[in-house]
Symmetry: C2
Subunit: 136 residues, 2 copies
DNA sequence: TTATTAAAAGAGAATAATTATCTTTGCAGA
DNA sequence: TCTGCAAAGATAATTATTCTCTTTTAATAA
């Protein structure tokens, strides 16, 4: 568990209750919430927060690498508090997105790309987008 | 080169000049055009087309698996006429997205997942989202 | 502790992308 | 050729997000 207070400080950002609350809401929502999810969660203990503030703070946190956006083909953006390298499981039937981490796979793919380069392209990172169905 | 005329027929969809033109525009635009790109291209030989029609037709083509959406963290949707299994190279500095196909990699990863299953998840497909920089 | 100040929050309007509604048009089968 | 349904076109509506402006507040120093 990272201290958001400390993290904001380190980035030279003011520590405000809203920023802390919004960050916490993304963590609490779990599994890549939408802005709507985040607002709903926050409103429980911060009923007067402004929607514009939520968007603004999310953008600040993303551009300071304290949160990430999740790419999707849907119309609404989703956010991720997990900064460590990981992949995503996308449910084909619902909007559920789960984290998938797999060091062994990372090593396998990294080794593959170390041998076989992509021409005209310098790889910085890769991520698997795995589609399928959650079972049980 | 697939016949869009035939493809539409096979899906039980009416063949209209607009549908054909929009499909062709996605192919011609190359590399995952936005709706704006598509409209610009189409307007050259179809100046009177309606924006709503473009959106509607794109949705029809996507839901009939004649086109695909490309997932991204940006605000605008992008489309893909390449239906065969392939991966994407995302430029870190620009909005450029290029196709990357690699049968050897596909086999490697598929073999990996055949051995090591993901618990509670039935994989249907996977796709690599590779970020980096285009060089030269 | 208080004063100062730059940065952030809040409110609401504006914009941008996309979808929905309604009317008109036109493909396709009879 | 006629007819009916599906699609196109026009435009309004909706949704997600950003912007602008004012007020508030966190951080620093006196
Ligand atoms: Mn989007
Ligand atoms: Mn939007
Ligand atoms: Zn994640
Ligand atoms: Zn592609």
């Amino acid at each position: 568990m990272i201290s958001i207070h400390k993290a904001l400080k380190e980035k030279g950002l003011k520590v405000t209750p809203q920023r802390v609350a919004i960050y916490k809401a993304v963590v609490d929502c779990k599994n890549h919430p939408t802005v709507e999810n985040i607002i709903d969660t926050i409103k429980m203990e911060y009923p007067s927060i402004s929607v514009g503030t939520v968007y603004k703070v999310l953008n600040v946190l993303v551009s300071n690498d304290l949160l990430r956006k999740v790419e999707s083909e849907k119309e609404v953006m989703r956010y991720d508090a997990v900064l460590e390298h990981h992949h995503h499981l996308f449910c084909m039937d619902t909007d559920r997105i789960e984290d998938y981490e797999d060091k062994e796979l990372d090593i396998l793919v990294a080794a593959y790309f170390k041998k076989k380069e992509i021409k005209n392209f310098k790889i910085e990172n890769f991520k698997l987008h795995i589609t399928g169905k959650f079972i049980k």
